[in-house]
């Protein structure tokens, strides 16, 4: 053990300095990376490439009842995607949901995290778990459960007698409520963990200057945990654009949710037609939109939440 403590000092510098030095521990690197990289290639990279490939083909038939053959179609499927009003209105719907629901959810998550991090509130451990608990409920189950709570026959809430939560006017916000209920605590916890990691000394000077909890939260805590907040935003962009489970469940109990309600539902309903080529083109456009939105958001905020 004595050699162990002395040796690294001499060994350290050359490891990083030279670029052309042959890679050390090649077998180990390959061994560590191989299982993940193989699976990632098979079940992530390959499907993405396959979808891309599929999206450039189309099915043609000889006459009405002739055999179907797949031929190269160039950008035909993409033309159909861009001409599809259903697809774009589904995109508009999830964007509207995103603009309204995500700021509310993350705003609440931030407020809860700050309260739980402050000295002002009591019973913080209980509240932290209470707010986080719904994250243990899968989206499908949460939607099924709220589905019961929204209809007057089972709901303990009298308001359902007069307000139709599953009607076409409110259904989007009823879905928003389910998402907020499930994910608010999860986002709260990410921000809360970031808050807890701030060294306490940072606050000493502020306190000496007479700054109150509110001032400290606004001027010190929030700027420091901004990367964590941005991370939750990016996750929410991805999650909202991909929305499927909750509206798919509501679709079975109300006619207000069409089979093309969200982009992913368009993808799904197109695939069960079946029209895999068009469905693949929808997937590609959706994935690219997700990329672009996440990327633009990260650029605009000028922070490196991922690094």
């Amino acid at each position: 053990m004595t050699t162990a403590t002395a040796a690294p000092v001499a060994e350290m510098p050359p490891v990083k300095s030279r670029k052309r030095e042959p890679t050390k521990h090649k077998a180990a690197i390959v061994g560590f990376l191989a299982p993940f990289v193989v699976l990632f290639t098979l079940f992530y990279a390959l499907p993405v490439l396959y979808a891309l490939y599929q999206s450039f083909f189309k099915t043609v038939r000889q006459g009405t009842f002739g055999p179907a053959t797949s031929v190269f179609g160039g950008f035909d499927q993409y033309q159909r995607v861009f001409a599809s009003s259903e697809f774009w209105s589904s995109i508009g719907r999830v964007l509207l949901l995103f603009i309204v629901q995500v700021p509310i959810m993350l705003g609440l998550a931030l407020v809860f995290a700050l309260l739980l991090d402050s000295t002002v509130a009591k019973g913080k451990k209980f509240f932290r778990l209470a707010i986080f608990a719904p994250y243990a409920v899968p989206g499908v189950i949460a939607a099924i459960m709220w589905g019961f709570l929204y209809v007057p026959s089972l709901s303990p809430f009298g308001i359902t007698e007069s307000v139709d939560f599953l009607g076409s006017g409110l259904i989007l916000w009823s879905i928003a409520n389910v998402i907020t209920w499930v994910f608010c605590g999860y986002n709260m916890l990410i921000i809360f963990s970031a808050l807890q990691a701030i060294p306490q000394e940072i606050f000493e000077a502020a306190r000496t200057d007479g700054a109150g909890q509110f001032r400290i939260a606004w001027s010190i805590k929030i700027p420091i945990v901004l990367p964590a907040i941005i991370l939750t935003f990016v996750f929410s962009i991805i999650g909202t654009l991909q929305l499927f489970n909750e509206p798919q469940v509501f679709r079975t109990i109300t006619s207000s949710v069409s089979s093309n309600y969200t982009p992913n539902m368009v993808v799904y309903s197109t695939s069960i037609v079946p029209n895999y080529n068009l469905s693949a083109a929808y997937s590609v456009v959706l994935a690219l939109s997700t990329f672009v939105l996440s990327f633009v958001f990260l650029k605009v905020t000028q922070k490196r939440a991922f690094a």
């Binding site: 560590f32 209980f126 189950i141």
Partner: protein
């Protein structure tokens, strides 16, 4: 009010906790705690309703107050009826879900941790390219993968088997991201050098030293992946047609969809929902202190 402006410096501070400051105004305490009480009610009442509803009969479910128990209290007979219904189909779903989630999360965590560790601890050409490709995987919608996977799996005869759901679940790009950050921060280079000098192989150094130091990250990755697989709905919906292979989400979804034709399913759906959320709730509570430290590593960077 004057005591707020000039707090006595020697007075014992009853609220001195972590992040503590000067004594808080009672009004702030009431407002802050009151806000959290309202939040807790919002987040817990639906779960409470589920517990209460699960203890009722078909009749009392609709006729009695939804937020309080009614006679007869039949939670346990409801559960045993559920487990016996249709030759224990629900139990089968429960076992399937546990199987998919435990196996997928365990192996997924191991593979992600190995990859993240290699990306953090070794210098090699193409390292950043590999890492960025994997990070790009975080942004790929899971639903965009499911359909091409269905087509690929149908060509090799894997559709409608356990493998169709299990294999894609083994990949956790976010796990690699977390593992890399955590390995870089928590596994000191000198310790690894020491192990090498003592003659340990790279794999031994990883399994004996690094894994132990990365325990919080491992628990976090495991739980995240477990939750992702447990919540998985789209992939099984696309892949599986044999209901004996369903995970619980897909199973309850199909029952819920046929309540109109078969009203007796409603109580089973309610009780089944309650039973299905218990394992995760227990896991979250039991492993709290692990995943919270791991989460802060991922959140702040």
């Amino acid at each position: 009010m004057s005591s707020d402006v000039m707090p006595a410096p020697t007075a014992p501070d009853p609220t001195a906790a972590k992040g503590g400051g000067p004594r808080e105004r009672p009004l702030s305490v009431v407002l802050a705690t009151g806000g959290l009480v309202v939040a807790a009610i919002y987040f817990l009442v639906p779960i409470w309703w589920l517990v209460v509803a699960s203890s009722k009969s078909q009749a009392t479910l609709v006729t009695t107050n939804g937020l309080w128990f009614a006679q007869p209290f039949q939670l346990f007979s409801n559960v045993s009826n559920l487990f016996a219904f249709r030759d224990g189909l629900y139990v089968r779903w429960l076992i399937n879900s546990v199987g998919y989630a435990v196996l997928g999360a365990a192996f997924g965590t191991l593979f992600a941790t190995m990859a993240g560790y290699a990306l953090a601890k070794y210098v090699f050409r193409g390292r950043e390219v590999v890492f960025n490709l994997i990070l790009g995987g975080v942004l790929v919608p899971a639903t965009a993968l499911a359909l091409p996977l269905f087509l690929m799996f149908s060509q090799v005869g894997l559709v409608n088997t356990y493998w169709a759901v299990l294999l894609p679940s083994l990949v956790s790009p976010f796990g690699v991201y977390l593992a890399r950050i955590y390995a870089a921060a928590s596994v000191p280079e000198p310790l690894l050098e020491a192990a090498r000098l003592d003659g340990a192989s790279e794999f031994r150094a990883f399994f004996v030293i690094a894994l132990r130091l990365m325990k919080p990250a491992l628990v976090t990755i495991f739980l995240f992946q477990f939750v992702v697989i447990w919540n998985n709905f789209f992939l099984p919906l696309v892949m599986l047609s044999n209901e004996r292979l369903f995970p619980i989400t897909l199973g309850l979804y199909t029952w819920n969809s046929s309540i109109n034709q078969a009203p007796e399913l409603r109580l089973f759906v309610i009780v089944g929902s309650l039973v299905s959320i218990l394992p995760l709730l227990i896991a979250f509570l039991g492993l709290q202190r692990f995943w919270q430290s791991g989460l802060s590593a991922g959140g702040v960077k």
